[in-house]
Every structure is written in structure tokens, then in C-alpha cells.
Amino acid sequence: MFYPEPIERLIENLTRLPGIGRKTATRLAFFLLNTKDSYITELSRSLTDVKEKIRLCSVCFNITDSDPCAICRDERRDKSVVCVVEESSHMMVIESSNPGHLRYHVLHGVINPLEGIGPDEIRIKELQDRIVREGIREVIVATNPNIEGNTTAHYIGEILKHLDVTITRIASGIPVGGDIVYIDPLTIKSSMDNRKNL
């Protein structure tokens, strides 16, 4: 098929997006071609704004359009507790559960030797500096409960143990509303290990 050069270029650029094949890209290109000019202007402005205005918060390394970010500026939050997460999207999920008082530290990855990612490739040194600088008393490590997340959590625990700070790990076990019959042995074991008093 031979489309005019601008359409072909648009299709090519859309194909570079994750999960978009040539067929979907063509459909999107023709949608954009037939849509109102005002929408195209708005779309292109928002794309430019994302690149121009979004940066990392100098305190917690969350993505933000103002530095420090809104969470770090919020005086009502407890400054002595920091929740360590892998990505900004994980922080948003925790924030949506309305924990209220937390402040965060975004690592932007996890330790993964199979991919050649070590502690120096993520924001662990910055976490250490921040704990000392801000006098943080508790660090909640909320990385995923998989091999990479657990390795990162243990490493954080190891390098912070000489500081006067409590290090906690988010619990893992049977999900709320789950059925014990369908839970795998590893999760059951974790639930038993992390049981709490009633």
C-alpha cells in the first residue's frame, strides 16, 4: 500500500509505540486524519508538554511538573517516614489506597544482576543521603515481592542497618477477598510467617 508521505511517516512513528503494530498504527493515523483540528492541536501540545515540563523531583525522584513535587511539598505528611517504591506508577497505586501520611522515594528500577542492574544504577545512594539529611526514622520498603524486589529490599536493609532507622517490608500473603483453597504454597507460607496478633 502506498500512502502519501506524511501519512506513511505518521504510521511509522506510531508503530514505534509499545504494543502498536502497523495495522493499529494505520487505524490511528486515519482517525487522526479525520478528527477535528482542535483535538490535533491539543494532542500535540500535550505530547510536547510531557517532554518539556515533566522532570524528576529532586527530593523523592517522583515524576513531577514542579520541583519539589506536590507530595514532598505537603507539610501535613510525616517527614520521619519514607516509603521506597520501584516506579512512580507504584507510588500512585499506594497513594490511591489513601495511606495519608506517607512520603516516598522512587528507585527507578530494582537490582537485577541478570540484566546487569546493580545498586549504582538505581537511586539507592540518594535514599541513604536523604535518610541522613532529613532525619528519617522509618523506611518502608515496598518493592515487588519477587526475586528482584526482595533482593533490593534485603540490600537496602543491609546498607541502612548502621543508621538509626527502622526498616520495614510490606507484608505479602493471601489477598483480601481471596480463598485459601486457591492460594499457592509459597503465599500461604508467607502469610503464616507474617501473621499478626488479633
Binding site: G19, P113, L114, E115, G116, T151, E158, D184, P185
Partner: protein
Amino acid sequence: MSLHKDEAFVLFKRAYGESDKIIRLFTRTSGKIAAIAKGASKSQKRFMNTLEPFNYIRIEYFEKSGKGMARLENADIIETNSGIEASLQKACTASFFTEFVDRLTKEKEPHEPLFLALKEVLFAVKRHMFSYADILYYQFLMLDMLGYMPNFDSCVYCASTIPNEKKVLFSKERGGILCVNCARFIPHTVCGEGVIPGLMSIINQEKQFANIIFERQAQDIMEGFMSFHLDVEFRSYRLLKSFIL
């Protein structure tokens, strides 16, 4: 399309699309296979916790004869990776040997001794922290199984026996030690006293190292040899190296 049942170690996992995972497995009877696990990122039933690197699992998968990626149907844990995450050094060691097997084997080439060697390494890593001698021992074991073992017995070029001398000449290109005559026209490095006997003692499971200088020399020899013959840069090795020496 036929259903296969096997045991395997998870070598590598990667998220694919919204909810799938692509994994590489080293199976007991079929060697390395790549497989897609549909819905693995969301499924609470079939794959929960099972497709993590270093896990020892029992699998069922469909495979079209000839080509294409296998489709993983079920996976159950035989032994988890639990314990490896307890220290970064353990995670790096397990990663190195997993990557070693992953990068130096071809798909669908069965190699049960190598499977058992990987099993031994991963189980041992959980139990104790590896020294550099331990790492070298398993490295030699796997190199031997894969046909890359360096020759420390006799001159690699003329096969003559080398007298017990203080300094031994090693050629990374030829993959072994050299006699004085052959060393005149073959590029080589001069190994310090006791380095080659030290490496031999590790191969023979005596696993003793004299000192840090000896370890560094042994490391230089192995790095030069592996980089020349395998032509593979192990991503996990850089991190592992920061712990072992």
C-alpha cells in the same frame, strides 16, 4: 502440537504485552526452550510465583513441531529460589551461573549433566556464600561439560609434559599452558608461581587459594580465556566481580 512434561530451571523472564510473560527455561530432557506464558502477569492460579528466575519447576507445555515458541500451560514449584535474595552476592552468583547456561547453550539441545550442575550450583548458593574458589570450581565444571575446558595438563600445542617450574606460560588464544619451545612463537602470559597448580587443585575439588594476589592472577587468566573463546560478555559478571575480589 504435542504436550510435553518436564522439569526446568527458570533462566530468564520478561513481561510481554499487558499480561503475558516470555521466559527461557533450561529443561532436564529438552535443553533450553523459550516459552510464552499467557496471562502469567495476572493469573492467580496457573503461574503465580512459579516463573521467577532460579526457581526449579515442573512444567507442561505445548510445542509446534519444528519452530516457534513453546506455550506454557502449567507450572508447579519443586523448589523455590527462596534464600538467594538474602544477599546481593548470592543473587549475583546465581545470576552468573544462570546466565552462563543461558548464553552458552543453544535451544533444544538436551544436556542433562549441565542441568544437574546448574541444580547443584543453585541449591549450593542458597546454603552458603560462594568464595572465588567455589565460583571457579563450578565454572570449570560447566566449561568442561560444554567443551571449553582450558588445558592445564600439558603443552596445548605440542602436548609435551611441562616440568614443574616456578612460572608457567599460558596462552589464552590456544586455551592452555605452553612449553618453553612453543612459547617462542605463540603469544602468552607468564603466570605467577603456584597459579596453575592452584587452578588444578580447584578442578580437583581441593579448592584452596593462597592469597588475594593469586586470586587476581587466576581471575586475569580466566577472564582472558573466556573473553577470547566464548565471545560473550556476561551482564551479571561485572556485579559479581565487585564482591569476589
